[in-house]
């Protein structure tokens, strides 16, 4: 009994000490008080050096909280009780948040540097005239191959994956919309198709791919590809950039016949409280030199035209991550579908997963 009491007292003392020291640390880094900005971001999706630079320039301290899926972020903001000043949803989620009245419109008169952005990524259907959002990074869906076993140039199109040469060699990202979308492209359909017959055909097409599919996995795909577990994978460009950095035998292709174009965007949730800090940050992040630094750190493609010009030639001329205009013209942005249509996609996709 005495020992138990001692244990409890000891644990309480440790907790108290940790609590006290973390408070001291926070105070010394200046995160208390009103000169703060609460950023709700994906994990490891901003260069930490930029945050320090921002604080030095403007005096605002940035508190970063992270989420791991658009849906998780949506649920948290929707349920209230949070004080996020800025969030970074993907394009279809911007539409959804807008529809749920979770966003504040941007005050364009306070924004400088909007004309630094490439018009290709502005005024998109998910947010006409960029009333609510500023693009942050963009990317594609494509094929990653390992040149140890796959000769460059042999897998440039989606249909190449269906070749019987690649039995049990392909890893797919576990995402209904993307994998169904890939099948839809090979059948010359829109990636936003909602016709049940069209989706049924796409499922049948995927079922034909099943013998070639080694596994349907999520984030782990990066680790697997880096370790040569499979020679082929279908994944997003952002994930591909990380794989390529870890394994020099890997290459990324965006099929020229079409693929998905995704854009992550800075938005102001309804819960925002620090107006001045928000616009200071948005303007800071629109500055070409800062955007370029961020793009070099993250490895994703930047929608900021002037920032892209500042990137090293090897990066900005890299066709893997900045595809040529013909390919860009064939890319499609996902529309926010109604829950019933999302269900339709997921049902067909689940049946495909059951099939193999």
């Amino acid at each position: 009994m005495k020992r138990l009491m001692l244990l409890i007292i000891g644990l309480l003392a440790i907790c108290g000490l940790l609590g006290y020291s973390s408070q001291q640390l926070e105070r010394s880094s200046g995160s208390t008080g009103s000169r703060v900005l609460n950023l709700y971001n994906w994990g490891d999706y901003i260069d930490p050096k930029l945050l320090t630079k921002f604080q030095k320039e403007t005096g605002y301290h940035v508190n970063v909280e992270t989420f791991d899926s658009n849906e998780a972020m949506y649920t948290k903001i929707n349920q209230g009780g949070t004080h996020y000043d800025l969030a970074i949803p993907s394009e279809y989620m911007v539409t959804k948040m807008k529809r749920a009245h979770l966003l504040k419109p941007l005050d364009k008169s306070r924004l400088t540097g909007l004309n630094n952005y490439d018009s290709r990524f502005m005024n998109e259907s998910f947010d006409p005239n960029n009333r609510y959002s500023i693009p942050y990074f963009w990317g594609t869906l494509g094929i990653i191959y390992n040149d140890k076993t796959i000769k460059p140039g042999t897998v440039d199109h989606w249909n190449d994956l269906w070749s019987s040469k690649y039995r049990d060699q392909i890893m797919l990202i576990d995402s209904a919309r993307d994998i169904m979308g890939m099948a839809l492209i090979t059948q010359h359909q829109s990636m936003n198709a909602t016709n049940p017959t069209v989706l049924r055909n796409a499922e049948n097409k995927l079922n034909a791919l099943a013998p070639n599919v080694k596994a349907v996995v999520a984030d782990e795909i990066k680790m697997y590809m880096s370790q040569d577990e499979a020679p082929l994978a279908v994944d997003w460009s952002g994930e591909a950039a990380e794989m390529l950095a870890n394994n020099h035998h890997l290459h990324y292709v965006v099929p020229s016949e079409g693929s998905n174009l995704w854009i992550d965007n800075l938005v102001i949730p309804k819960t925002a409280q620090h107006e001045n800090a928000i616009y200071a940050f948005l303007n800071f992040m629109s500055k070409p030199e800062n955007t370029a630094q961020n793009a070099e750190y993250i490895g994703y493609a930047t929608p900021n035209r002037k920032a892209k010009a500042l990137l090293p030639k090897s990066v900005r001329a890299d066709r893997q991550f900045y595809p040529d205009n013909t390919t860009l013209d064939h890319l499609q942005i996902y529309k926010d579908l109604s829950p019933a249509k999302v269900q339709l996609y997921n049902d067909r996709y689940l049946e495909f997963k059951m099939h193999h």
Partner: protein, 274 residues
């Protein structure tokens, strides 16, 4: 006097009652309630109709039950002899602790460790190459999924069996031996029937969670094994169709109740001599 003790009993019931109400009954009621709503939040029975008319879901249910059964059988085959062996050891508390130790490690970490072991360049394949068989595809096979799931469940089976063996009075074994039973007969007629409650408790502890495994099906099985857990995850996180997800949840709960009834203690029948 009577009322005082009664009041005291009631007082002690409060924490238990609160816990039961808030964390057992309320969630179950919510799941049941949710399962009657469709995507538009209208009351409907269609979720259940969909479930029992869909070949996909029925196949998935069959898959879940089949793999849970396999996992339970393998776990049992390994755990009973292990528990029996451990029970006969000198420092058995220490050895038992070693068996329990892995359960303190997060399941996700263990899954990732197995990815390292089973991958193309992993230890398992290095060994296979060393003995001349050459590297094989181990990850993303049904066998590796069952293997890892079994590994994770083993402690939960060993513990109740071990406890049952511990409760078994050595007098029974001595008596059996004195009466001329062979070692095997003693085990078959005395030890095993008397430790059966431990086995049943172990089956419950293993079969029920195995029905809804979903993380391992993706990490180790590469989504080649699809169980009901996968479908529930998808309904709650991607399609946001909580109604359908809850319906599958209700089906799982019913399946669990059936398992509990089948493995629960039967009441001794009237004429059975004790």
């Amino acid at each position: 006097m009577m009322t005082l003790t009664k009041r005291k009993t009631w007082f002690y019931f409060i924490p238990y009652g609160l816990w039961l109400g808030l964390f057992v009954i309320a969630p179950l009621a919510l799941i049941f309630y949710q399962s009657f709503f469709n995507l538009d939040h209208h009351f409907t029975f269609s979720n259940y109709a969909n479930y029992f008319q869909s070949l996909t879901y029925l196949k998935m249910t069959l898959n879940s039950v089949w793999y849970a059964l396999l996992i339970t059988v393998f776990t049992g085959l390994i755990s009973y002899p292990t528990a029996y062996f451990l029970h006969g050891l000198k420092h058995r508390q220490f050895w038992l602790l070693l068996v329990i130790l892995p359960t303190w490690i997060n399941i996700l970490l263990k899954a990732y460790a197995f990815i390292g072991i089973f991958s193309q360049a992993g230890i398992a394949n290095q060994f296979l190459s060393f003995i001349g068989i050459g590297p094989q595809q181990i990850l993303f096979t049904n066998a590796s999924f069952v293997f890892v799931a079994t590994y994770i469940q083993i402690p939960f089976m060993i513990l109740p069996i071990y406890n049952a063996l511990d409760d078994l009075s050595p007098a029974f074994i001595n008596a059996s031996q004195d009466l001329g039973a062979s070692g095997w007969q003693t085990f078959q007629r005395v030890i095993f029937p008397l430790t059966l409650p431990g086995v049943k408790a172990g089956v419950q502890a293993v079969f029920i969670p195995s029905l809804s495994l979903f993380m391992l099906t993706r990490l180790i099985g590469g989504n080649k094994v699809i169980t009901l857990g996968t479908a529930i995850e998808e309904h709650f996180l991607t399609t946001m169709n909580w109604g359908m997800g809850s319906t599958i949840g209700v089906v799982l709960i019913v399946a669990m109740v059936i398992v509990m009834l089948l493995t629960g203690d039967q009441k001794p029948k009237g004429g059975t001599p004790r």
